[in-house]
Structure formats: C-alpha cells, structure tokens
C-alpha cells in the first residue's frame, strides 16, 4: 500500500496547481470537518468542469483537493459522480484502481481510518457545489 505522505502528496500540498479563488465561477460549495475544523471551499466553472478551491487543512486535504481538480477537469457531472464513488472506495479499501490515475496516491490513507475524511472532504465540497450548478 502506498505511504499516505508519498512524494506526489507532498508536492501538491506544497505547490498546488489549482488553489485559489477564480475571478469567475458558476457555483461554489463549502464543507468543514467538525472534528478538526478543516475547511474546503470549491469553485466550479461549468464549461469544461474547471475546478479551483481554497482549503484550510492538513496535507491530505490540500493534496486531495488539488488532485481532485485534475481528475475531474473536462468531465460531465455524471462522470464526476462516478469518479467520486470510485475515489471513496479507493480510500476506504486501499485497493488501487487504474482508472483513477494519480488519485491512487491517496490509497494509503485507508490504513488510517480517522484520516479518510480528510481525503474525501474536498469531494464533499465539490458535490455541494455541483448541487448548485
């Protein structure tokens, strides 16, 4: 099983590609983890499913949000829903899924049940945003 703090996770935590509030967006969604106070706000631009986010959280939250933005780019809402379900299976089972590409970097979190929510938090915020699209 992959280490939950492998290079890709730390790289996206330190140097995110999609962090920050875009000038224009169609919808946003925010979710907080009541246990630790971590927050993620996701901004969605409908055309091309362009996703950005602002996160106040741990390395897992930040990296998961950034990798999520990559994974859903250009997808339809139905495809996003499918990836989200597959991702949840990945982080709860620890079994890598070739279809999920770089998201597999987060498989190792399955070993730490109290941290799984960190990985899924951005996905909940995205679902919330898509609900408003």
């Amino acid at each position: 099983m992959s280490h939950p703090y492998q290079a890709l996770i730390m790289e996206r935590h330190k140097h995110p590609l999609h962090a920050g509030r875009p000038a224009q967006f169609d919808a946003q969604g925010q979710v907080a983890n009541l246990i630790c106070g971590d927050k993620v706000r996701v901004y969605v631009t409908r055309a091309g499913m362009d996703v950005h986010y602002e996160a106040e959280g741990c390395a897992i939250v930040n990296a998961s949000a950034d990798l999520m933005a990559d994974a859903v780019a250009g997808k339809t809402p139905a495809q996003v829903e499918q990836i989200s379900r597959d991702f949840e299976t990945l982080v709860t089972s620890g079994h890598e899924n070739p279809a999920l590409g770089e998201l597999n970097a987060l498989a190792g979190i399955a070993e730490f049940s109290s941290r799984i929510r960190c990985a899924t938090l951005p996905w909940s915020a995205l679902a919330e945003a898509l609900h408003h699209v």
Binding site: M10, C36, R115
Partner: protein, 412 residues
C-alpha cells in the same frame, strides 16, 4: 541527550504496565497520550480479574456471602479515596462514571437547587468542554449567568480579570481546572478557593489532570467540590469521583432516580437516602471501582514525591528538546506547569504530525483537545499534544524529537 532521574526506576515501573511492551506498525510503542487516558498497571488488571473470577455479586442488597464480600471491597474504596484526597469523611465521596458526570451532577443538583436565576458561575478560558458546557446548559435552563475569566498569554489565570468577574458580587460558583489539559498549566487552587470564599462563592475544581501528577488535599485547598476520573489515574474507565463538603451534599437533591438512592418508596412518593448514596442510583461500576482502589494503592505505593520529581525532569527535558526543533511552537509557558505539552509546527498540520508520528510508533493526540474556545484564544485551530505519565522515559521524548525532525524534513 538524556536526563538523570533520581530515586525512581522507570524501567521497573514500566514492567508493571503490560501494554508498554506492545509494538505499533512494527515499532516500539511510545505512548505520549496519557492525558487522554493512562495505561493500566498489572495490579489494576489483576484486581479486576480477581473480582470477576472470585468475589463478585451486586452490592448493598444481597444477604449472601458474595454480595457482602463485594460490598465490603466496594465500600473500602470509598475509604481509600477519602484518604487519598484527605476528605474529612467517607460520606463526602460520591462515585460517578467520570469527572464529566461529577461536574454535571453538581450543575444539575446544586446548580438548580442552590444557585438562583441571576447568580453567576465563573469559569476560566482554559476549561475542558466538561467544565464549560454543563454551565452553559445550566444558564439556558435555569437563568444563571456564565462568566469567563481570562488567562494570560503564558497560560496562567489573569487575576485582574478574576477581580473584574467577581466585582459585582453575583458570582456564586467558581468552576475551574487545577491543570489545563492543553497548556499543562497548574492553577493556584488554594489561592482561588480563598478568593472565592472571601466573596461568598463556592469553588468547584476539575482535578482530572492534576490529581495524576501531584498530591491533592481537598481540606488544605478548602475545595467545596472536587471532580476527577479513574481512567487518567491508571485506573479503569467507567468510574469517577465527586468530592463535596458534607453540608453541600446534604442540601443537594438527587441527580438520578432509581435503586440504591432511596430510603423508602411507595407508589406515591419516595424518601431519598442520605449522601453519598442519594447520588448513586442504580448498580454502580463495581468492578471498575475496585480497580480504582487498586490504582490508588499503586500510585500511593510509588508516592507523589517520586512521581512528581520524575515528571518534572521529563517536562523540563521535553520543553528544552522540543523548543530546539526549528518551526515548533509550544503553547503557553506557565511558571507552574506539568507534563502536558501542546505544540504546533510550521507548515505541518497537527493531524499530519499525529499520523506521521504514529507510523513511527509514537502516540500523541491532535485536534482541539475538547477545548475549542481555548484554541481560538491561543490563535490556533488545532495542536499536537504530548503528555506524560509515570512510565514515560526521557528516551521516549528523544524519540518524539527525532520523529518531529523527520516530519520537518518532509514538510520543509
């Protein structure tokens, strides 16, 4: 680097705690989370096993051998606890589930029967939720006021704020911790009790953390109420203690109704038992209470002089070691502090620290430590916390420091 600990053989102590031989993720367990709950010595485990294997029945009701023997063993712990905290009488010891229940018992009974709407309860900024939420609930249900006493940036009680909170004479109860579960600060409880009493208020002390580390004398403190849990004192979960002065218990109505707490019952009404039984409805935690008795014997056998000296040396070593790690900030720097150290690390979230330390076999707590308002007061959202027990070693502190240095490299 290691420190010399005098007259205290930690290696021998560790032999008494079977769990400390466990491995976690293939590494030696370094348990630095005793402030959440302490590990149990063999003496406690054996005492509880003995009850279940050889001497068990319900207490206070059977007229047979096993019940009488078990009642004797159970009630002997009440004497033991009274002696342990130097209560004037065994009747001042009420067994509860834990300190949280002890404080709630006071809020529900004394709070509603003796405190009047318009009276104020004062707590400090560094209370555990257990000593904040019951007073908020009392405020909302009964119309008492809740006032907050400020702490200094060092993590000590701000006496100027204390004076202000008490200035109009409305405060009738000061409910305060003896040791912060986040900052490790001790509060000067003797001085606070004197202060409250001079102003016509009672004092309730949350002794959950402090009683594990130093000798407590409720009469010397002149505490009106003193609450603690068994499980932090190397005893089992499920048993706690409320000490209260006899005259206060006498005027308090029951907390819960049921068996054990009555003198007589008819379909129309009931007469309640005298304290402490009035506050102990239902079958108590018999096995756990007997386990608590064994824990008190164990702690007293080692002695608080030795325990405190060991933990003082550990805390000094830990403060010096951790503050030397680049990017680590320790919360609070009270003059009188014990083996509870909360810290943050530049760039690394507390949960990342806890998970990465866990991979190395090191158990620390991360989060808001049931003290969310205090996190805001100290300007953080969460911290990592290392806390020590009598079995903690200087080598374990060094392992923590090495772990944090590795994390620093990952997050740099």
């Amino acid at each position: 680097m290691s420190v010399t600990l005098q007259k205290f053989d930690v290696a021998t102590i560790r032999e008494d705690f079977p769990i400390l031989k466990q491995q976690v993720h293939g590494k030696k367990l370094v348990f630095l989370d005793s402030a959440a709950s302490a590990q149990k010595p063999r003496a406690v485990i054996d005492a509880m096993t003995f009850v279940m294997e050889s001497q068990y029945a319900n207490v206070h009701r059977g007229l047979h051998y096993m019940s009488e023997k078990t009642s004797d063993a159970y009630e002997a712990v009440r004497d033991k606890v009274a002696d342990f905290i130097n209560a004037a009488s065994r009747d001042e010891i009420v067994f509860t589930r834990n300190a949280t229940e002890s404080i709630n018992l006071v809020a529900y009974t004394y709070g509603r029967a003796v405190l009047q709407p318009g009276d104020a309860v004062a707590v400090s900024e560094m209370e555990h939720h257990a000593n904040l939420v019951p007073w908020q609930m009392l405020r909302d249900a009964h119309g008492t006021e809740l006032r907050i006493i400020k702490i200094t940036d060092a993590g000590e009680i701000d006496f100027e704020s204390l004076e202000q909170v008490f200035a109009d004479g409305k405060v009738k109860l000061l409910a305060i911790t003896q040791m912060s579960n986040v900052l490790g600060s001790y509060t000067p409880v003797e001085r606070l009790a004197k202060f409250a009493h001079e102003r016509g208020a009672r004092i309730l002390i949350d002794g959950c953390q402090a009683i594990v580390h130093r000798q407590v004398d409720v009469q010397a403190i002149d505490a009106d109420f003193y609450a603690f849990s068994g499980h932090k004192l190397y005893g089992p979960t499920g048993v706690g203690v409320l000490y209260a002065k006899k005259e206060l218990l006498e005027e308090m109505p029951p907390f819960m109704g049921g068996g054990e707490m009555i003198a007589s019952v008819s379909y129309e009404k009931s007469a309640f038992a005298r304290p402490p039984f009035r506050f102990e409805a239902g079958t108590p935690a018999i096995i756990e209470t007997i386990g608590l008795g064994a824990a008190i014997d164990y702690v007293q056998g080692i002695g608080f002089d030795a325990i405190a000296a060991h933990e003082r040396a550990l805390t000094e070593h830990a403060l010096a070691t951790l503050s030397n790690i680049g990017g680590v900030s320790i919360l609070g720097h009270a003059q009188d502090r014990g083996g509870v150290i909360s810290f943050t690390m530049h760039n690394a979230h507390a949960h990342d620290i806890a998970t990465l330390l866990d991979r190395q076999g090191i158990a620390v707590r991360a989060g808001h430590h049931c003290a969310e308002p205090l996190m805001g007061r100290m300007g953080v959202t969460s911290t990592a916390r290392a806390s020590f027990g009598m079995y903690t070693t200087a080598e374990e502190i060094d392992a923590l420091a090495a772990g944090l240095n590795r994390i620093r490299q990952i997050f740099e």
